[in-house]
């Protein structure tokens, strides 16, 4: 009995802590959003009138359909552009594929609304490229609207498809392809009938991530939508809008967002239900021998896509270093924008670094033991834990933010306006990252190493600290950095939760966008790019091990 307790006490304790944390700071706030959506204005009686009101309002219906169209189009385009890229990187003799992959993954950690803002600077009504196009006599209105949002999402989210697809193409054993060719299938047919179907589950898993991100993202539509309503933005406006705060309608939009995500999840599951392939390459397929023109074409395509995704960020950096006279860009080098940005205070930068560091530390401390329990102590309980930890992924940052304010703005625990509520939101949202990072690396560590340590007389907990943790260090560090950089560029829950004292860099940029100081916004964007890219460059090798495909 004591042995039984010792064996189950650890996972039970970890499960209890995780359940308590997510129950209080995730389920309870989400329940509050749901509650707000079904209670009358007095907040006492159950009513469906809020739903009736929203769903009979053409404006909100338009927001719903816009959001779905944008997410679906971005997902389709990310797959269309990402899969050929992944195939080229995985199978064609292209030089510098590791650099190419690292650059391709970069947009995932860079703030996507910076890319959107760069599109405005280049292709907006007064954009640099727009001006050049018009001067050349080409009719071009602007990038604003749904097409701009889809462009920004495609360029920043396509790596979600690329990374798992590369892994999938590489995990198909050479013999599978050889068998197809041996049976008479030419190359094209082999690709269509064997390689693509085998990679499909990974491609769809990546596509789901694109869809969810595109649905929940706040910054990109905020920058690019103009008069086009988008769910995540409208929920925010209804909740904190200057006109009237309307938690009931905001709650309805939040529930609609969650419903869309959950529906997407089920669609993906249904598409995959009969396709479960255990592929493990004993012998990875060799690079294809192709004619030089084909190889050059593949190389060109890959670099062009990576370039297209990164050019906006580079453009923002360049623009931030140019002088502005009011809103008018001058072609002269200047650090004036940065001086202007930091004139009042360095506080936003310090806040961003401190909040991201705190969130990364907390998410790692909570996430690593959870990852351990999920991988090493498989049971019905740990499977449930897995679902619970992944669930925050399905809830938009704006919605979680609204829920946290509804839940902790009054009552037994008041947290609004503190740094704590922001860190809590970050940890809840990024916990899937640290748990996945931990479990991915754990899958590579043979459990017999832990058993050997225990067998030699070291108790389970010291064994975990002395054997498992050192071996996991690479994965843990990669996961922590990922949490750090994604928190540093987080906007959707920050914009709901921040208070004056805890203004972050993303908020500073957001505020600059609302004003007219394009130079300050560009400077803030450049600082954000540096804050996210430097840690990634430092641990880039570690990060490459991180597998997004495990989601």
């Amino acid at each position: 009995m004591t042995a039984f307790l010792a064996r189950h006490a650890f996972p039970a304790a970890i499960g209890a802590i995780a359940a308590a944390f997510l129950g209080l700071f995730f389920l309870y706030p989400v329940l509050n959003v749901f509650g707000a959506s079904v209670l009358d204005s007095a907040g006492t009686a159950f009513t469906l009138r809020n739903y009736a009101g929203v769903l009979s309002n053409p404006f909100f219906l338009q927001a719903l359909s816009n959001s779905l169209i944008v997410a679906a189009a971005a997902t389709a385009l990310a797959i269309v552009f990402g899969v050929p890229f992944a195939f080229c990187v995985a199978r064609l003799p292209i030089a510098g594929t590791s650099v190419l992959l690292a650059l391709a993954a970069l947009p995932l950690v860079l703030p996507s609304f910076v890319s959107a803002y760069a599109l405005v600077l280049m292709l907006g009504r007064a954009g640099i490229v727009t001006g050049a196009l018009r001067a050349a006599g080409l009719p071009f209105e602007s990038i604003y609207g749904l097409k701009g949002i889809v462009t920004a999402f495609t360029l920043t989210l396509y790596p979600y498809v690329v990374l798992p697809a590369v892994a999938a193409f590489k995990s198909i054993d050479a013999s599978v392809e050889e068998a197809a060719q041996n049976l008479g299938a030419p190359r094209g047919r082999t690709l269509r009938t064997v390689l693509l179907p085998l990679a499909l589950p990974s491609i769809l898993a990546g596509g789901l991530l694109v869809f969810i991100e595109a649905l929940e993202n706040f910054g990109v539509p905020f920058v690019l939508a103009e008069d086009k309503p988008i769910l995540a933005v409208e929920a925010f406006k209804l909740f904190v809008g200057e006109t009237a705060d309307n938690p009931a309608a905001a709650g309805v939009l939040g529930v609609l967002l969650i419903a869309c995500t959950v529906a997407a999840l089920f669609v993906q599951r249904a598409m995959l239900s009969r396709r479960r392939y255990a592929t493990m390459a004993r012998r990875p397929a060799p690079l294809l021998t192709v004619s030089p023109p084909v190889r050059r074409l593949g190389t060109l395509y890959c670099w062009a896509l990576v370039g297209a995704a990164l050019v906006p960020f580079a453009a923002v950096v360049v623009i931030s270093l140019l002088a502005f006279k009011g809103p008018v860009l001058q072609y002269a080098f200047s650090l004036g924008n940065f001086a202007e940005l930091f004139r009042r205070s360095y506080r936003p930068l310090v806040n961003t670094l401190a909040l991201a560091a705190a969130a990364a530390a907390a998410a790692t401390l909570i996430g690593v033991p959870i990852g351990y329990v999920i991988v090493r102590r498989r049971s019905r309980l740990s499977a449930l834990l897995d679902v619970l930890v992944t669930a925050p992924f399905a809830v938009a940052g704006t919605v979680l933010g609204i829920g946290l304010i509804l839940a902790f703005g009054h009552g037994f625990l008041i947290l609004t306006g503190t740094a704590a509520i922001m860190i809590i939101a970050y940890v809840v949202r990024k916990l899937p990252f640290s748990v996945r990072a931990a479990s991915a690396i754990l899958h590579q560590i043979d459990p017999s190493l832990e058993e050997a340590s225990i067998n030699l007389g070291v108790a389970p907990l010291p064994t975990f600290l002395r054997v498992t943790v050192p071996l996991m260090l690479g994965g843990i560090a990669g996961g922590s950095v990922l949490v750090f950089v994604t928190v540093a560029s987080e906007l959707s829950s920050t914009v709901v939760l921040y208070s004056g004292r805890w203004t972050t860099m993303t908020v500073a940029m957001f505020q600059a966008l609302e004003g007219t100081s394009a130079g300050v916004a560009a400077a803030a964007a450049t600082v954000l790019i540096l804050v996210t890219i430097l840690p990634v460059a430092l641990v880039y090798r570690l990060l490459r091990r991180y597998e997004l495909s495990t989601l």
């Binding site: 042995a3 067998n455 064994t463 071996l471």
Partner: protein
């Protein structure tokens, strides 16, 4: 150095009874092997002794000490894992010292014992090397040194040779056996390789579907198998199902299809339907018309499927009723076509009919 008593242990995973009521008394200093096909429960049983698998019922004792309720890190067993499980973040010396440090021994005591253990597995001078610099055989030695250096009550080996190539496997099994004799340590050894089991063990327990089929010395396992499963799993054999048609004292004639085969039945055996086990090497090809050795019986048939294997040659003799008999000889048979095979009825093993 301890006798081990395993009493009525059982463990189910879902509907599968991995170990289904096993009792064993392993002697002090014995080299004891658990042999069986994959999924027979041998590894589960070993992990029960190490403490990595809980018991549904039963008990395990080292000497007089009951250990199945003791946490695995307090059992003082030395385990060698199938994949070695050498810590990649520690050098060879660090790996071997790991268990001694856990026991909080003094630094110089640890150094002496690590050195002695490495010498024992012929890795002296390798203490500062890293696991990734070692070959499979060397990793295996590190794992063994790490397990024996703590002077465990019992050394547990879980298919330790299965990842090595054939030649090294034969070499290492000799070394492990010699090491065990030097230390006089009790060993439980798990394998699915019957040759390994026969070569190394004092006694073998053959397992099947979570139960013990037979526990005996290697020779008894091979020459006097208790069941048809043991006869066919340990070595190759011809299993023939038949009916006793005539009995004269210990000598019985068994009708197998249309062929009559003579065998010796132990006095107390009174069986009607039996299964006979005829080892291929117990069959001898004789030229047509040549006389068999005294007391041997002859079966006529045709020679088929000659397989030359170097040291021996396998072939099949198809009996007049169409039944194939696998046989083996040192030299390839000179004859072709119609031949006769002789066998010694004393070497025909009679088993109860399981069908």
């Amino acid at each position: 150095m301890t006798a081990i008593t395993i009493d009525g242990v059982a463990r189910s995973f879902g509907d599968v009874r991995a170990v289904d009521g096993v009792s064993l008394a392993i002697r002090d200093g014995e080299f004891f092997t658990l042999l069986g096909p994959s999924g027979c429960g041998k590894t589960t049983l070993l992990r029960m002794v190490a403490g990595f698998c809980e018991l549904d019922r039963g008990s395990i004792l080292f000497g007089d000490r009951r250990v199945d309720t003791v946490a695995p890190h307090r059992r003082n067993t030395g385990m060698v894992f199938q994949n070695y499980a050498v810590f990649p973040n520690l050098d060879v010396g660090g790996n071997v010292a790991y268990g001694l440090k856990a026991r909080k021994l003094a630094g110089d005591e640890i150094a002496t014992r690590v050195e002695r253990a490495l010498k024992l597995v012929r890795l002296d001078g390798s203490a500062r090397r890293w696991p990734h610099q070692l070959s499979g055989g060397q990793l295996q030695r590190v794992a063994i040194a790490r397990a024996v250096v703590i002077e465990p009550d019992v050394l547990l080996l879980d298919e330790p040779l299965s990842n090595l190539d054939a030649q090294l496997r034969v070499e290492m099994r000799g070394e492990i056996r010699a090491l065990q004799r030097t230390l006089g340590i009790t060993v439980i050894y798990v394998t699915h390789d019957q040759e390994e089991a026969l070569a190394m063990s004092d006694r073998i327990a053959v397992m099947r579907a979570g139960r013990l089929e037979q526990v005996d010395a290697p020779r008894a396992i091979y020459e006097a198998p208790a069941t048809a499963f043991v006869a066919s799993f340990v070595g190759a054999t011809n299993l023939l199902h038949g009916v006793v048609v005539r009995r004269d004292g210990e000598v019985a004639d068994v009708l197998v299809g249309a062929t009559t085969i003579r065998a010796r039945l132990a006095g107390q055996m009174s069986l009607d339907r039996v299964t006979l086990s005829l080892r291929p090497e117990a069959l001898r090809l004789i030229g047509a018309g040549a006389a068999p050795p005294p007391g041997w019986r002859v079966l006529a048939g045709t020679l088929e499927d000659i397989e030359y294997l170097g040291a021996v040659t396998r072939f099949v003799v198809r009996l007049a009723d169409g039944r194939p008999l696998a046989a083996m000889a040192l030299a390839p048979p000179a004859a072709t076509g119609d031949v006769a095979v002789a066998y010694d009825p004393a070497r025909v093993v009679v088993l109860g009919d399981e069908a």
